[in-house]
Symmetry: C2
Subunit: 628 residues, 2 copies
């Protein structure tokens, strides 16, 4: 590995630069205010200041609280005759009006300091003031933590944006992305390249929005990611590319998905999986907000197989235990019909999770709902085992177990008094998936009942690796589809399997998981035209014609390359602990894909469709609604 | 103005930070190469290095030139028996194949140094090598300055991207944008906010692409700019917003326009015109590439009226003179029919430009083509006056002039021997526009003939201000339309004119012009709901319903605000002196809006249109082309 001395230097300097930059940010440049509303301290006492902001609160002509994006300042209204017009102006202005106030910074009278407010030691004695814009009656109060209907908040998004939480979320997002750019662009020589969003349909691009063109019958497509372009940039010798890329996905109505979203899109030449992983760990460490505590690198890594076996999912939440335990070997010895049945099949297994203190924290209806959930989502029967206060087990299973076997089972499952075990027998993937889902559901139930399992301030990053390259198609299990996308390279040890038994080949795909959510994914790509053609034509049986430009590009000296994309909306929502990605997007769409503020999408006239040579296929019942 | 000490500090620190960042960029992190191909110098002699790159050139099994994004390195092929396989491998690899070479850095033999090459003092003696991907026969040679057809270059864009010039353009673009972000975000507290691109049609949005939604008859629209959103962010108290925003404009086929383009989008609260101007001057000074020389601030400013009168355009190229001269007063005294005719009308004028050395540099056919151009583009007759070597004038005009009047005219026009004057009489705007256009056309002709008028290394920024707020509609001059957009605030001195005689009101719009190209434009916006409603309903007679969300937002305490947008593609193309904005975009569309590499837009099947409830209106002649 070369350039060691440089790397060390850049790590030192990164920290230095961070401090440096925070120091010099100037919020008052180019405007007439002298200070923001969050800035004044005892050191400013005696200064004349000019503040601009919104009236948050006003009391009996005595004082008001002025708010801007940086904080709150208490303004004292003048009570003398000479300033009566100032007092009148300010005490008559409705809440949320925008005003300018000029006055003198004073210490608050002893005992009236507010230690909870950063500006709580001072107040500003108003001398002149101006109402810049008055506010009419609000549809709701602008205070944090007041529950409003989300539809109303979305309709008046510009008012909701005045809340501390949304301001914080958007500023933190901007800050984190800026740090990412510094890391990629300034420290590691990445080039920020913008790629087109008006492109054409990719094979299987059923979720791509279409954009009619002026050429009759021809459509652009809004891509789901810059995947093809970033690979072509590598063929073009750009070496290190990144983009904060707007992506589009038309999934109809789905909760917590947005039709447009943003990913941190990265691609490098001459890199391997470990190289991309170290890059991302460094990136996240560099951009991580200080107030969220440090994160440790390298991140732990787990194979897809381990993740499925231990957590029943490819995105394990490793903040808590309750791992899936394999009790096949223990039960194999016993003559229990349903166990023997399950184990007789290929991939047959018996597994369980142990819910700590389940007897105390879960009600009977909780346990019932867990079992029903496994049945309805995974068609999986669940058997429960309870550890009584005297240490004995209560279960349908116990009649098959001797005393010694009961205590062996307790040991295998590491059960304590009052624990509840959920047991499932059947096909490996189904059993694990069902138990993985129950693990999360019971964690939610335990936490709702007051047992803290997952530290809300903890951030557990995890790499999941060694995914299968292909999966059987759901609609026809004899055909294969890409587990991720057709450009993913096979695992270096499995290259020959690609040609001999592609179902067994692992890929060089890697997912980045944070607290049980997938926040990124990427792969080393195929750079051989022959291999790419084999995958498309022989394995996936797809028409490679639509990708002919990419296949041809691989023939012209394409370098080995790989990359990753981080889901920015999801990542930021986890960092700020927001319940939805809508809380980290300035103007999100509703879960039906609507903009409730501006009313989009909307009807257009037939004349507006004419240049695009399209017409609406109105269902008979809808014809009346057509806007002419 | 507050925060002076901070501002001075941030200016000092900006320079320091620039140097600092350049110093630590590490191109070799996370990969196995030790160095890039542009990096090795005499100081590296004796080191073992590993390089990755493309074979640019190979000669007789003796040496080759390896290229990556950073430069070229000469590789010496081993000639001894023990390394014969390395020699064979490298000398058989086709040009543009990707290889790894490991070897020892050596000084070039005395006399063989290449001072034109940054790595020209050294060469690398190859010890091991690997062909990572072979290149098939190229459709054209990858060398700079070889003229290829642009269609071919666009089809093989990934090969064209390997050229020095495109690599330089894209890297410089990335670098400039990163500096802009540092300036806005890190130095001045701006928040980078992403706004939606799936929105709805704005009034008069005939150039907006439509995106069919899954709701029958309803369409999203791809906005031409984030204008509404940035204003709503100000209402939401974001205070300082910026975004490197993707914008869309469907203009059909237009040369040097792209259906998607990028603007640096900025908005601030509590700011005036001067504040935005100082911000932009500081921004450009901060991001300006050092190799293009310093730029001076503040930029000069000119009113729209002056620009039209002196340069015949609202985007004057001030790199050269040839300003328009008003000779109305001089000619008014004379009894010349066409002059008196022109001057008798309202806004009648007689004006001229003087082409220096026109007799020597322009051919007769050049002069004819200039006159024809004025006639065809502006319906404007042009009369020419030539200054003979003896100082006398040759023109149809001279018969009306005595000797004294001739020498007075020479003085008014500042004519020298061999100059050519082009004279136009008629309505002010038509005359000025025609002469402004002739000024640029004759400058092109003079330069083509060898007279350098415009220093190619000069960058002349100019603010054009005090535009009219409204213009008569072309199709119906009795109705008014916004000169820029309906959110532009009136000039502070003309607020009452808005209500009494809106045609006379000037606006607070400002354009930024660089070397005769518009590179930015913005305005202080209307923040009063009442004023905004008056403009929309009473002046523009538009249906304000589609903007009801914006009008309502202004009623809820909207702060005074203003902003600007810089056209990034145009700005970068001027900085790198590229003939087209296509040269600063990684994957541009052709002037017909097509992607020639991937073949977009393309046909889709009727099944793919079904979820969007649209069908293609095939003209009868096209039905055969439908892809089923």
């Amino acid at each position: 590995m070369g350039g060691n001395s440089v790397t060390v230097l850049s790590q030192l300097s990164a920290k230095a630069m961070k401090d440096f930059i925070i120091f010099i940010q100037d919020f008052n440049s180019f405007v007439i205010r002298t200070n923001t509303c969050g800035e004044l301290r005892s050191a400013h006492v005696g200064q004349e200041v000019t503040l601009y902001g919104w009236i948050q609160y006003q009391r009996q002509g005595l004082f008001l609280v002025l708010r801007d994006f940086q904080g709150l300042t208490q303004i004292i209204l003048p009570q003398d005759e000479a300033h009566s017009h100032v007092k009148k102006l300010l005490s008559n202005a409705p809440v949320e009006s925008v005003v300018r106030v000029t006055g003198i910074v004073s210490s608050r009278p002893p005992g009236q300091e507010n230690p909870k407010m950063p500006t709580g030691d001072i107040e500003v004695k108003a001398e002149t003031a101006e109402i810049l814009n008055s506010c009419k009656k609000l549809p709701f109060e602008i205070k944090d933590f007041i529950k409003k209907s989300e539809a109303l908040r979305m309709q008046y998004r510009y008012l909701d944006l005045r809340s501390f939480q949304l301001q914080y979320n958007l500023r933190l997002r901007s800050h984190v992305v800026m740090r990412m750019r510094e890391y990629l662009c300034n420290l590691h020589g990445f080039v920020d390249v913008e790629t087109p969003t008006l492109f054409k349909r990719t094979p299987g691009g059923a979720k791509e929005f279409l954009v009619p063109s002026r050429e009759v019958g021809k459509f652009y497509s809004l891509p789901q990611s810059p995947q093809q372009f970033k690979q072509l940039l590598m063929v073009g010798g750009l070496d290190r590319y990144f983009q904060v890329a707007r992506c589009y996905r038309d999934e109809g109505s789905r909760p917590d998905r947005q039709p447009e979203f943003t990913q941190i899109d990265i691609e490098m030449s001459f890199v391997d999986q470990a190289g991309i992983q170290r890059l991302i760990e460094g990136l996240l460490q560099y951009c991580w907000p200080e107030e969220r505590g440090p994160i440790m690198t390298p991140f732990p890594s787990m194979t897809y197989k381990e993740a499925l076996a231990d957590y029943g999912t490819d995105k394990p939440d490793t903040r808590f235990g309750m791992k899936i335990v394999d009790i096949s070997d223990f039960l194999r010895r016993l003559d229990i019909q349903f166990v023997q049945n399950a184990l007789s099949y290929p991939h047959g297994t018996v597994r369980a999770i142990c819910i700590p203190q389940g007897v105390r924290y879960l009600k009977n209806k909780d346990l019932e709902s867990l079992k029903e959930s496994a049945k309805s989502k995974f068609n999986q029967e669940i058997m429960e085992i309870i550890c009584r206060p005297d240490g004995s087990l209560k279960s349908l299973l116990t009649k098959f177990l001797g005393e010694k076997q009961q205590s062996e089972l307790i040991q295998v499952l590491n059960m304590q008094v009052d624990d509840v075990v959920l047991l499932a027998a059947g096909e490996h993937k189904q059993v694990c998936s069902a138990l993985g889902s129950l693990r999360l559901e019971s964690a939610d139930l335990l936490e709702a009942a007051g047992l803290v399992l997952r530290d809300p301030t903890a951030f557990h990053f995890l790499w999941v690796v060694d995914f299968p390259l292909f999966l059987p198609k759901e609609e026809n299990p004899n055909e294969l589809e890409s587990a991720h996308h057709p450009f993913t390279a096979p695992h270096p040890s499995d290259t020959s399997l690609l040609y001999s038994d592609p179902t067994k080949a692992r890929s060089q795909h890697y997912d980045l998981v944070l607290n049980g959510s997938e926040v990124g994914g990427g792969s080393i790509r195929i750079h051989s035209a022959e291999q790419q053609r084999f995958v498309l034509e022989k394995v996936l049986k797809e028409d490679s014609e639509v990708l002919s430009h990419l296949l041809e590009a691989l023939e012209f000296g394409a370098p080995p390359h790989g990359g990753i994309a981080l889901g920015l909306d999801r990542l930021i929502s986890l960092i700020v602990d927001a319940p939805s990605i809508r809380d980290v997007i300035a103007f999100p769409k509703s879960f039906r894909g609507r903009d409730l503020m501006g009313n989009a999408p909307d009807y257009v006239t037939p004349e507006e469709l004419e240049p695009y040579h399209i017409q609406v296929s109105w269902p008979l019942a809808e014809r009346g609604k057509e806007k002419l």
